[in-house]
Symmetry: C2
DNA sequence: CGTGAACCCGCAATCGTTTGTATTATCGGG
DNA sequence: CCCGATAATACAAACGATTGCGGGTTCACG
């Protein structure tokens, strides 16, 4: 139960005043103290195993050296990489990351933002969707730097790092088009979620671009980003358009739902009907068949968010409202040429 | 850029001394101040939007109200639930959780422990495996409370919450035995990882218990907890014992590796050869066929770890060295009666 | 009416740093 | 030889809360 060694101890050991010790240890002020003294202090500090007290320092400098990260659901594998990305860049700058798990709904996220502000974090990274959260974010912005990740607000008033959904859907549609598909459908996510809405629009856009008819009829909305809703959406979509040879799913889980729908019709995935997912979550390559999916650089997303947050906290003016990260396409066996194309 | 409202402001607003305001706001000391004054102070605090400064408080009380959680790999879906469990109980007590991602190897974990100590966390939850980490943990224990999760040290000198691997393997073996299997093999994890070693022993134990021959010959060790090593291990195991009707895998990924091995022999999973996994990770129910797996209550594990840490930090004497959490068995289509059993 | 208990409340020290200002020592130039 | 500039260090005031201690009221009781 030895009491921690404080700056006072170091100063006494080095035979200098506490303030001199402080300056000697601080790189930015070490220049104004005699080099020889600096060395003496440094030695003393090392010898005593001195570690500055972050609270005392933070109290004086008015910074906690911590940033909060609020995640809608920590158990969702999607957010692991984001957290890892954030952590990897912040840890380099000696910041600590506080994680908040908003798994009890959007209002929970609000109170978590509040909690974080009470803890006096220096910055905030939000990954929570939902309309009211943006209000909380706006409010928070008055006190600390805020960056959104995998999520943006309509007016771009808050810096956001997001995947380029338009481009991503484009990858999927063009891939299918190049394989020869002409009748492509879309199982969309809920329209009240920004990604659901955005990807639906992107799909219709790209259909036109690749020279296919772009009909709202070709889209069926799933109630929620889960397997079951995906299946029911795919079933109604396929009953409306039995001639579809490919489906672009707004999400991997929806894609897996499509798997079931196609199976229940006695058809083969990647042969009779091609399917693409979105997110390229882990294990997707182990499915039967392995699923073609749009891969979003989530880790990078977290890292970029952390970087812009650092810039923001440093008082730099961060340029645009929204940064789009380019996705890639992981091509696997769930997509192939349409059946009437093969000889 | 308005300066934050401090206790002094509240005191002035309420017309009392700062110390009185402090006591009034603090539930444990509010009793010694006039109820009417308490109300006046509380009102003033609310009116001004006062939020106590955690750093100032912590500096005085010598507690940061934060605990560190060190995870070997945040991107591994396994740890999501653990984090969620930890967070859910700690957030109730107004603690914040700092997460550390030791994805750059065991030595990285050491330095993270060091980092956490520098940040003066009140407690530490470690989920990192490896021999040298236990040393770091021992050292850390000198300064703060430490609890291990999903991991334990040999001498139980540090409280640990772990899954009951012996019982878990027992569930798998007994399930297979009850289905009628008599020739059961085991694809083990690396023996230098505690779970690898423990589950192997448990397997041999239970084979004896259910009245089958328990031969080290029936075990093949995979190099690492991944799909590929699982496949190669399963291949050599099946070539040594072509008559096996079931395989207990030490891990879900190894189980998926077994899938491939069995497929490559032209046999059917759950029909010719039954396979069980371990951990019941997400999406396992969507595999072809869905995999029977031992489900470990990871979220509960995190929650329990947090609870015992709270007890520890409160100075209570926590009873045993190791708490075992009972697993359950998620039975799916990868296990069925052995082929010669069916008529 | 005096006195002591009970009750509130204010005073001031303290936690470990950082940082503006004062003080001392050093040195060169007139 | 003295004076002003300069360098190096010491002093002390913050930062915002908690808390032991003591001073002041109020009130009951003798």
């Amino acid at each position: 139960m030895s009491t921690r060694t404080t700056l006072k101890d170091v100063a006494r050991e080095a035979g200098v005043h506490i303030s001199t010790a402080s300056r000697a240890l601080n790189p930015s002020t070490a220049s104004i103290v005699n080099p020889e003294t600096v060395e003496r202090v440094t030695d003393a500090a090392r010898k005593l195993g001195y570690r500055p007290h972050p609270l005392a320092r933070g109290l004086r400098t008015n910074r906690t050296m911590s940033v909060g990260v609020i995640i809608p659901d920590v158990e969702n594998p999607l957010f692991g990489p984001i957290i890892a990305g954030v952590e990897s860049v912040l840890v380099e700058e000696d910041y600590s990351v506080l994680i908040g798990n908003a798994d009890r709904g959007p209002s929970h996220a609000d109170s978590l933002v509040e909690d974080m502000l009470e803890k006096h974090v220096d910055g905030l990274i939000l990954a929570t969707p939902g309309r009211n959260v943006s209000e909380a974010a706006q409010a928070a912005q008055a006190e600390v730097s805020v960056v959104l990740v995998n999520r943006s607000v309509d007016d771009d008033s808050i810096p956001a790092i997001v995947g380029d959904d338009h481009q991503g859907i484009g990858l999927a549609v063009r891939h299918l088009r190049e394989l020869g598909h002409e009748r492509i459908g879309h199982v969309a996510g809920p329209s009240w979620v920004s990604t659901g809405d955005g990807r639906r629009k992107a799909f219709l856009d790209w259909m036109k671009t690749v020279g296919l008819k772009s009909d709202a009829d070709l889209v069926e909305e799933a109630e929620w980003y889960q397997v079951e809703p995906g299946t029911t959406a795919a079933v109604t979509l396929l009953s409306r358009h039995p001639d579809l040879t490919a489906i672009v799913a707004a999400n991997d889980l929806l894609g897996l739902g499509c798997y079931r729908a196609v199976h229940s019709l006695g058809k083969d995935i990647g042969v009779d009907v091609s399917i693409t997912g979105y997110n390229d979550m882990p294990l997707l390559d182990l499915m039967q068949p392995p699923m073609t999916s749009v891969r979003v650089p989530y880790r990078r997303m977290g890292a970029d968010a952390a970087s812009t947050l650092l810039a923001l906290m440093a008082g730099e003016v961060v340029s645009p409202g929204r940064v789009l990260l380019s996705p890639t396409l992981a091509i696997r066996a769930s997509t192939g040429p349409p059946p009437n194309d093969r000889h």
